[in-house]
Amino acid sequence: MRPLFPFRIEVRPQPSTSMVIGVSLLAILAAFLVSGLILQAYGMSSVRDYGVVLQETLGSPQGIAEVVRKTIPLLLAGVGLALAFRAQFWNIGAEGQLLAGAVAAAGVALFAPIPAPWLLPCMFVAGFVAGSLWGSLPTLLKVKVGVNEVITSLMMNYMALYSVQWLIYGPWKGKSMRGFAYTDPFPQAAWLPLIPGTRVHWPTLIVGLTLALGITFLLSRTRLGYEVRVLGLNPEAARYAGIDGARVTLLVMLISGGAAGLAGVGEVAGIHHKLLGPTQISLGYGYTAIIVAWLARGNPLAIILTSLLVGFIFASGDVAKVALRIPVQIVEVLNGLILVFLIGSERLLSYRVRWAPASPPSLPRPSTSRPLPPGEGEGGDGGDGTSDLQHTPDVERL
């Protein structure tokens, strides 16, 4: 509690939802402002320029369809990450899991002798399984041996990336594509139907929305969901309640990896209809999904909104590239800035400024190793009551 006479800053036990949303919006705004400075250097400065971008992105059915198209993988991966983060498992490997799903779908589409009507469902299942498996190694390492999951899941991303490259240059190289690094195009039965007039592969969207609802249901209404939340919020209480942390984490990651895998299926089956270079399949969706999940504070329903927002950012980035020749990397910068401002502002949520001119400046909180004197001994909440995602991974177990 620091006195800044005549204000008093005190610990806030639990910020309201509207405060959380408000601060998030402020963070996003700040990120946009800073990006605006960069954009200015590239010649995008006037209101007219911004107007052009907005118009192209949102002002036409095509534009909105593009936004939705970008939203789909973010939605799927984001929902998976939200679940993982809620269990305090830092899955940074969504990018690799997405690619794994894409590979599995491509494999099924190109090589599996499955009759036409079953092909697409099989592709989805294969993609889910592939994503799950790709995410299982970092999970097992953490659960069994205690290896920090951030770096291991990240390494899996790079391994997925080069594996895809190997496939498209090597064994799966398309016979009909001369000189290009793609596989053959998928058979027609493996093409996802689109919303007429757009390029939106709606089945994946349905899957995504279903998954969001499903995980919401899981978290709020099932035993497993309850266990996930307890584990993430207070691991000690979880031990008390007899919750098996290893089992819960594994299950969570199976779903999380699978969700990212589904995103990969959508991309290859709905947009490209072949397996391409990894950076063409995913424009960093796996990493951006982290921001989507963080913005939504781990709430799967909120992911629907936050993935739309970030999808909008991606789509407008494309528009800006075409219309104003702004390099598309600005999107990555903007997303990173949003995350920076988000976590930077989390402190704001923990404190509350009070106008207190009458009372004398309160003394600094004493540092003591003994129990505090009696009185509401435990004081306000020891940590932050803010985001469920505040805790850092357990580095002790490196």
Partner: protein, 309 residues
Amino acid sequence: MDPEFWLISTLSRALAFGTPLLWGALGEIYAERAGVINLGVEGMMILGAFFAFAVAQTTGHVGLGLLAAAAVGGVAALLHAFLAVTLRANQYVAGLALTMIGLGLAGLLGRGWEGTPLQQPLLDVSIPWLSSLPLLGPALFTGQSPLTYLGLLLAAILWWVLYHTRWGILLRSCGEAPAAADAAGVNVSLVRYLAVLFGGVMAGVAGGFLSVAYRPSWTEGMTAGMGWIAVAIAIFAAWDPLKAVGGAVLFGACYHLAFRWQGWVVPELLKLMPYALTIVVLALTAVVKERRWRGAPEALGLPYVRGER
């Protein structure tokens, strides 16, 4: 090909390939020893790579390029320190976010700089007397970049400072028991800021090495995850600067072999090697560690607030 020659050439190339990893790992070791984990190394490296190239290309002076790389790494690190130490935000996410920004920014700024090789790259040199030593000479002291030699020297100096000077005690105390350091009058925040700053500078130069000496050119994403591997090496080396040399050489050898075996194995699969090795190394470290000796600094990743003892 006789084994001695093979050993020497592998060691020599391993050292060369491992130099950026070494620089990055040394910086990260200091930051983590002070208690702050910096996952922004990848972003700082790539920014360093770009700025080193751009400045060197424009001014014709490689030295200025490297200085610019160091400066950029430092600025990014200050931001990370602000988030981690002052705002006490989640250090893992902060680093990730900075890496995203760094990668994006480097890609943004780097457009148009691709494809042209550097006019005046940093050339390899051999150390005159030492290079004629048997075995060690050709392996370590012949035909390496000055940054490699500097890196090895730094490793020794940093090791010595860490364990045998007053500063070292201060730094390590902030990472192990910030409450004890605070009670002894140490300004824990300041120490952490400086350590993170140092880490950023090292990461920047590591990136600069890539674009100015190693592959004197600029390509988007040219760090290809080396920043992460540097962080892993810091862990693998048990936060000891000298052991980091071993780790860097190990991974350097991995990169070298991946290059060497291109004739026999599919190149893309070879590229997987360093990343797979990272996972293996981390798993081994976790399994083998004896808590007291190999464990991370006890306060790593935890923001310090007086009064929460």
